[in-house]
């Protein structure tokens, strides 16, 4: 298990050699806890087991929740207290399609879909701090809000790379809430740079999404 104790006092632990879905689920929960999302009494009263499954996709994770620890492993365990269905794009919980303990479903939804508290500038700065030294990264990254044309320039020099999206999408990208290639495919972001830079940027956003 890889563990990370959070300021919230809750430890989020994932299995060794974790799958991408386990990794991104842990990322979402850790982010929510850092933002102050509570691990509600309903979720933490005793050991509670929740299966999180992706709609239309075999990806799944089993979360074991106690009052100060969440353990996440791949696959769906039998007889959980709740099964939560999420959208693979951004982990949006479909509460109507989920089954089991309603309060537990609600608690997990609160962890997976916590409202972004930081603006896209803050998220971008954290993204840059974590990825700018990776091999092949552009020296300068320009992020631009599509509707306001507000720009944030990170780093300096050539080569440069430009990302244009709505502020909320920039925030979701930079926190790993959505995948870069998926956002590109959905038309949520426009890019300007070379194809090799697309590869490198994809890896950088994967680092945020999957911690790889």
């Amino acid at each position: 298990m890889t563990t990370e104790a959070d300021l919230s006092g809750v430890t989020v632990a994932i299995e060794d050699d974790a799958t991408p879905f386990v990794r991104t689920t842990a990322r979402a929960i850790r982010l929510a806890l850092r933002r102050g999302a509570p691990l509600t009494a309903e979720a933490s009263s005793d050991q509670r087991v929740v299966v999180i499954s992706v709609k239309g996709d075999p990806q799944a994770a089993t979360c074991v929740l106690t009052d100060d620890r969440i353990e996440i492993s791949h696959g769906a365990t039998a007889e959980p207290h709740a099964t939560v269905l999420v959208d693979g794009y951004d982990l949006t919980v479909d509460e109507d399609a989920s089954t089991g303990d309603p309060s537990l479903i609600n608690a997990v939804a609160g962890l997976l879909n916590s409202t972004p508290s930081e603006d896209w500038h803050t998220a971008a700065l954290e993204f840059w701090a974590r990825t700018s030294e990776s091999p092949g990264m552009p020296r300068e990254l320009v992020l631009e809000c599509a509707s306001t044309h507000e720009r944030l320039v990170l780093g300096a020099g050539l080569p440069t790379y430009r990302l244009v999206a709505e502020g909320v999408d920039l925030s979701r990208l930079c926190t790993g809430t959505v995948g870069f290639l998926e956002a590109l495919g959905a038309g949520a972001v426009a890019i300007q740079g070379t194809l090799p830079q697309l590869s490198v940027m994809s890896g950088a956003f994967n680092k945020m999404r999957f911690d790889v």
Binding site: T19, D57, P196, S199, G203
Partner: protein
């Protein structure tokens, strides 16, 4: 040379030439060119888009890593043919194999054939000539490839029957007809073969190609597989080189390697490994775990690693020990060699041979003594003996921690390989694959026909 090739083309009435290479995934790729275009390309090379080394086997671009200078916005790379490999493939069609290079003529870092040639040359610089051989395993099916596709590559009928296990001669005649047809084609094309037999799983066969220099060994491997596919197509059958196509026994691609010096087997000693063989094994064992992803490159590759099923599961070597990852054959002047038993039938022989030689070079240059040979059966062991990585992600992690292999093989090649393997891992998990349910449809769709 061009004049003699022009004459050869005319003499054989060649109307098209298939220029061929093997990409990083191990797929045999190429183009068909006219004789005139072929002759003009002998000096310039033949242009391919750089994504020939940047698409996965589901035809998606591989992203997520830094790219070397020969990758760009669909830059051209050039296949430079090795005219020593020019053969008449079939009436009117010639075939020739080459290496991929940058516009300035320098090999691209990810070209497996160039990497293998470089390792062979490095050993030559140390005074050794390399002798190698490959064992090709595959599974044959009664169904045509059209039928296999329509069935999603599932529930196919093994050719030759399902009774027994390996070495059985009581096969139905269709099995022999196929194998004889392959042999006939090997002879026509000039590929020296030694033996074939029924293998452990139903429909599974093994082909042994004669020992040669490493680049020729790998060329023979690529062409033999192409012949097996073409023959299957012509006879209305299908063949797969998946490491495991079902829950039957998997299939391997064992590689045999020895070094010669002044015409003598440098691995030979009367009573065990020679000092050269000891250091070569020392390097191979020091790089065995980091090299795992080269030998087991796909998701399915790891499904083979089952104790007692035949493939090695531990980082061990032993004398005359086929349960270990490396078997040493000793005490024979001609046959002394190592057999590298990890690779799956889905591995790229150019690349794995290069990796084995890189390990050996590291051992010789750094005078790495081989660990003690493993004396027992190397399966089902209690804790204490290192196991091979059993997932692609673990194998990638081991390679990323390594410096010994990368120092010899080249960091650029290793980095590019790691990037493509991380992509493979991500695509499996996010694209429909499941880790715990046996061979998935995702794997059948991706790996049955390629690489």
């Amino acid at each position: 040379m061009s004049d003699s090739i022009t004459a050869w083309l005319a003499e054989h009435d060649i109307r098209e030439v298939r220029v061929e290479g093997t990409n990083l995934e191990g797929s045999f790729i190429g183009k068909f060119v006219s004789p005139a275009k072929f002759l003009s390309g002998l000096t310039t090379g033949f242009a391919f888009a750089d994504v020939a080394f940047g698409l996965d086997m589901s035809n998606n671009p591989q992203f997520g890593f830094a790219m070397p200078d020969w990758r760009g916005d669909l830059l051209d790379i050039y296949l430079h043919v090795d005219t020593d490999t020019l053969v008449e493939w079939s009436p009117g069609r010639a075939s020739v194999i080459g290496d991929f290079r940058k516009p300035d003529g320098e090999p691209i870092s990810a070209c497996p054939r160039a990497a293998l040639r470089r390792m062979t040359q490095d050993l030559s610089g140390l005074g050794y000539e390399v002798k190698s051989a490959v064992e090709i395993e595959a599974t044959l099916f009664e169904e045509s490839i059209y039928e296999a596709r329509s069935k999603g590559y599932r529930d196919l009928t093994p050719l030759g029957g399902t009774a027994g296990s390996c070495y059985h001669l009581a096969k139905s005649a269709d099995w022999s007809e196929y194998m004889r047809a392959v042999v006939d084609r090997l002879v026509e094309v000039g590929i020296p073969w030694e033996a074939y037999n029924d293998e452990a799983a139903a429909g599974q066969i093994e082909f042994n190609i004669s020992p040669s220099d490493p680049v020729s060994t790998a060329d023979h491997w690529a062409r033999t597989r192409q012949i097996m596919r073409e023959t299957a197509f012509a006879m209305g059958r299908s063949v797969t080189f998946m490491a495991k196509y079902s829950n039957e026994y998997g299939q391997a691609s064992h590689l045999n390697v020895s070094l010669e010096r002044n015409g003598h087997n440098a691995f030979y000693a009367e009573d065990g490994p020679s000092p050269v063989m000891d250091e070569f094994i020392g390097g191979v064992m020091a790089t065995l775990v980091p090299a795992t992803s080269f030998a087991l490159p796909m998701i399915t590759s790891y499904r083979r690693l089952v104790d007692l099923d035949g493939p090695p599961t531990t980082a061990t070597w032993g004398i005359a020990n086929k349960s270990a990852a490396v078997r040493a054959v000793v005490g024979h002047q001609k046959q002394a060699r190592i057999e590298y038993r990890t690779p799956g039938s889905d591995s790229n022989v150019y690349l794995v041979l290069a990796v084995i030689l890189a390990g050996g070079i590291a051992g010789l240059k750094n005078k790495i003594a081989a660990p003690a040979p493993f004396q027992d059966m190397a399966w089902c062991l209690p804790e204490g003996v290192q196991r091979l990585p059993d997932t692609l992600s673990k194998a990638i992690a081991a390679l990323k921690e390594d410096t010994l292999l990368a120092d010899v093989l080249g960091q650029d090649l290793v980095d590019y390989w790691v990037g493509t393997r991380e992509w493979e891992w991500l695509q499996f998990h996010t694209g429909g694959g499941e880790p715990d349910v046996g061979v998935t449809q995702w794997e059948s769709d991706r790996y049955f026909e390629l690489p």
